[in-house]
Symmetry: C2
């Protein structure tokens, strides 16, 4: 839930003038996104999302994010398109914060992904990776393998408050992953956060991808690993190989995975599970006891990590190339 | 900010079928209202608000609230209109909660009300009171004078944590108001919460009233007192008599205030200030220290109350009949 900044009607009316999208008819703060303030904005010209970038977002990254959406949209990926003002800029300033207006995308994220959704996702992810290949801007992944140890140190022994022994497990896992992490796999722009709430469907058809605020340059197959972790576990913790097969085979049909990528996949899945375990753990420990907003459960990703530790090759995920 | 219940896409798709408003295109939780979960819902037929009534709302009151909106809309008051399903019912059940779909009203609430807005409000409030006269359902005001002492007792001596001496001040004020409270003034349906965020404007023209979930039968001029307190104080605490004059004279032009109502107004304003002081105080004391969501400042209403104590007749508010 996220509306950190109160925008007044007067300020908003002034802000949108140079964007040429008519007059404001209404705007409502929306309870989506955890990093920024988002408003659903209706004007005489249409419906838009207004985003105010809060302090957790590095303003220097915004041209990358907004430029990427424009780049992808021009290559046929359905995603929100930043609206430019008369000066040709997408980025403006509202209430002292960087702010942008992007087009509104119809669709709903699916709370209970089915096999058909996973197949759609695989196809879309491969299309996203292909479309990003000639994007000229670069952004390092601050949450890739080199960023994990600092997170583990931030949590420190307090990880044991969440689960006894967790601090030790994390350090052991880090020691292993840091030395084993694959380098030299195909690189490109990855979404890095393609959870179900960032993928819209109309019926069973994927209608768009949103929220590019973790996008960066990194290993393409690592993005696939993030998706497998986010989409193919059941609420009871079981890994659903039918969903994974649908995701992997649809991805592979559009961008064939190399042998090296297939071999690395179990490790990439461990790494992806560790990354979300660590960020959730830090968020969990940062919330004061008794707070109304409960952060996501870090142990969900600990269980996923443990599953991948038991895997020896890609066939455990229900698919082989 | 309010989305207490997570609604799945499947559940929503099933829920809306009997309402005959087409297929869901999108829905977003919106950060408005503090009692219920609200979603902005777009379908192939239009834009709507979906509300799930959470436990702070008494389900037995819902026919009053929804019936009132329908009654008012039929009498030309611009307000959201509940959509009825094939069985002729506005109220359904979603995620185990009473739920309703109401039409979406364009407009924005004004963060900095000006004199012109206050005049519009006065006219609209009188129209609301007139339109409510023949509404057949009844609902007592649980937050009228008899409901204040229990709130004061709930806060008890902890009121002094907010401001030393406040507990004593509240009891003294209650003792006075309970004996002096006027009875026999014109009664009717009041909105009871017509703060700026519940009044929409397009430009300087009032475009609608929303949020009828405190509406009840009570003294009409008490509703006017709630508005004067909510709209006519400046951020620095000063009472703006120009705004009050605009509000009072526009109201009076549409529904003339009796001499008894005019005489009672300073007391009704003290009572209204005490009511919001008490509910804010109870909410303030209920929030754990360190919580992310900060409740509204009770002392804002303590200062308003103190101002009205110094008033001897209605002319202090910049207007006489």
């Amino acid at each position: 839930m996220a509306v950190y900044t109160e925008v007044s009607d007067d300020e908003l009316a002034r802000f949108i003038v140079p964007y040429g999208i008519g007059e404001v008819l209404s705007y409502k703060g929306i309870a989506e996104g955890v990093e920024n303030s988002n408003f659903l904005l209706r004007t005489t010209e249409g419906t838009f999302i207004l985003t105010l970038y809060e302090k957790r977002v590095n303003a220097a990254d915004l041209p990358f994010f907004l430029g990427l959406m424009e780049h992808l949209a021009a290559r046929g990926i359905t995603c929100p398109l930043p609206v430019k003002n008369t000066a040709g800029e997408a980025l403006g300033t509202l209430c002292g914060r960087p702010a942008a207006i992007i087009t509104f995308l119809e669709g709903m994220w699916t709370r209970r992904p089915q096999v058909v959704h996973c197949a759609e996702l695989g196809r879309a992810l491969a299309g996203f990776h292909a479309a990003g290949q000639d994007f000229p801007l670069k952004r390092a992944n601050a949450l890739s393998v080199s960023g994990w140890r600092p997170l583990a140190e931030q949590a420190g022994s307090r990880a044991d408050d969440v689960m006894p022994g967790l601090a030790r497990e994390i350090v052991d896992e880090l020691d292993f992953i840091e030395q084993a992490w694959p380098h030299g796999l195909p690189q490109g722009v990855i979404h890095a956060d393609l959870f179900p709430d960032n993928v819209f469907f109309l019926g069973q058809k994927l209608s768009g991808l949103i929220d590019f605020y973790f996008a960066c340059n990194d290993t393409l197959a690592y993005d696939l690993a993030i998706c497998l972790n986010a989409w193919c576990f059941e609420p009871d913790g079981a890994f659903n190989t039918t969903k994974a097969r649908a995701l992997l085979s649809a991805y592979h049909a559009a961008r064939p995975l190399s042998e090296a990528e297939c071999q690395a996949l179990p490790l990439l899945l461990r790494g992806s599970a560790l990354r979300f375990l660590l960020t959730r753990l830090v968020d969990w420990l940062a919330v004061p006891p008794g707070a109304l907003v409960k952060p996501k459960d870090p142990l969900e990703y600990w269980k996923k990590l443990r599953f991948h530790r038991s895997v020896t090759d890609i066939s455990a995920y229900g698919w082989t190339p």
